[in-house]
Amino acid sequence: MALVWILLLVLAFVSAAIDGRMDGLTQGALEGAENAIGLAISLAGILALWMGLFRVADAAGLTRKLASLLRPLLARLFSDVPRDHAALDSMALNVSANMLGLGNAATPLGLRAMEQLQTLNPNPRAATDAMILFLVVNTSSVQLIPATVIALRAASGSPAPADVIGPTLLATSVSTVVGIVAAKWFARLSWRKLPSLAGEG
C-alpha cells in the first residue's frame, strides 16, 4: 500500500509539473485532508448502527444458527478435512460472522480455524489445499449488508443508498463460486502439489 501511495503522489507531482497545475495539486491535497475527516464522521453514525444491530444479532445466537446451516455445506466442500473435525466448526463460525459484518469477531475464529487446519498439515510451512480453499471462501464471501459502501453512498447524497445490496449479493455469489472452482482446479494441477498429498484429489 505504501507503494500505491507514493505512486499517486509522485505521479500527481509529475503530471502537475508537465501541465503547470501545481495549484490544482495543492488544492486537491488540502481538500482531500479536509474531506477525510468529514467522511469519517458521516461513516461513524452508520457504522455504529450496523455494528450495534449485528451485535444484537450475535447475542441472539444468529451467528451460531447461520454457522450450523453452513457447516454441512463446508463439510462437503472440504473433502480432505474429516467430517467431525473442529476446523469445520471454526470455519463455519468465521464465515457466518463475516456474513453478518462482525469483522472483529470473525478474525479470531478464522485464525483458530487456520490453527486447526495446520494440525492436518504434513508440511507446516506450505499451505494445504483446505487452507487455500478456506481463505478463498473467506475473502470472496462477504457481508450480507455492505455497511461501509451504503454509508459512503448515503454520505455522498445518493437518493437510494441501499439499492446496491441486491447486486452486491449477486456479485459476491459469483466471486465465491469462481473462487471455489479456481481453488479446486488449481489444487489439481500437479506442478504445485505437495508431495505428501500427491495421491489425493
Binding site: 501511495w5 467522511l39 457504522l47 461501509t148 443508498p161
Partner: protein, 181 residues
C-alpha cells in the same frame, strides 16, 4: 431478465427495514438485553470510524493531489479507449486495483469516486458493488498464513485473485444490466 432486476431491487429495498425490525424483535424474544447490547456494538462502530480516519486522510490527500494535478484525467484519457469496449469506466480503476490491498484505502478512493462522478454514476455504482463483494485479499492472506507460519502460499494468490476478478466482472455486468438499459 426483468424478473432478476425486480428481485434484486426488492432485495435492496427490503433488506435493511427487515433486519432493522427483525433482529431486535428476534433478540428480544430470546431475552437478549437488546438496548444495551446495541449500544455496546455501536460504541465499537464509532471506534472503527475513528481508527480509519487517519488512513482516510492519507489516501484522500494522495488521490486529491492526483486528481487536482490532472493525473486522473490523463489516466482516464489513456485507458478509456482500451476499457470502454469492456464496459469499464476508467475512473473505477483505482478502486478496483487498491481493493485487494487495503480496506481503508479503497474506502477512501470509493468516496473520492462518488464525489467526483456522483454516487449514482455508472463508475461509482460499479465501484460500490465491487467493493462490497470482495475483500482485502492480500491483507487477509498475510494475516492468516502469517499466524500459523505458512511460507509457501502455493495457489492461494491466483485462486483468490480469480475470485476478485470474477467479482469485478460480475459488478460491471450487473450494474450495466440494471442501470445502463
Amino acid at each position: 431478465m426483468d424478473v432478476l432486476a425486480k428481485a434484486l431491487g426488492g432485495l435492496s429495498l427490503w433488506a435493511i427495514p427487515f433486519l432493522l425490525a427483525g433482529i431486535p424483535a428476534y433478540a428480544f424474544a430470546r431475552k437478549v438485553d437488546v438496548y444495551s447490547t446495541f449500544v455496546e456494538g455501536a460504541k465499537e462502530g464509532l471506534q472503527v470510524a475513528l481508527r480509519i480516519a487517519p488512513y482516510l486522510v492519507a489516501i484522500l490527500v494522495a488521490v486529491g493531489a492526483f486528481r487536482g494535478a490532472g493525473a486522473m484525467d490523463r489516466l482516464s484519457d489513456g485507458l478509456g479507449p482500451i476499457l470502454a469496449p469492456l464496459g469499464i469506466p476508467p475512473e473505477v480503476l483505482p478502486v478496483a486495483l487498491v481493493r485487494p490491498l487495503s480496506g481503508s484505502g479503497s474506502t477512501g478512493l470509493l468516496a473520492d469516486l462518488m464525489k467526483a462522478e456522483g454516487p449514482d454514476s455508472l463508475a461509482a455504482r460499479i465501484g460500490a458493488v465491487m467493493a462490497g463483494s470482495t475483500e482485502t485479499t492480500f491483507y487477509v492472506l498475510a494475516v492468516y498464513f502469517g499466524a500459523v507460519g505458512i511460507r509457501r502460499y502455493r495457489h492461494a494468490i491466483p485462486a483468490a485473485l480469480a475470485a476478485d476478478l470474477a467479482g469485478f466482472a460480475a459488478a460491471v455486468a450487473i450494474v450495466h444490466f440494471l442501470w445502463n438499459g
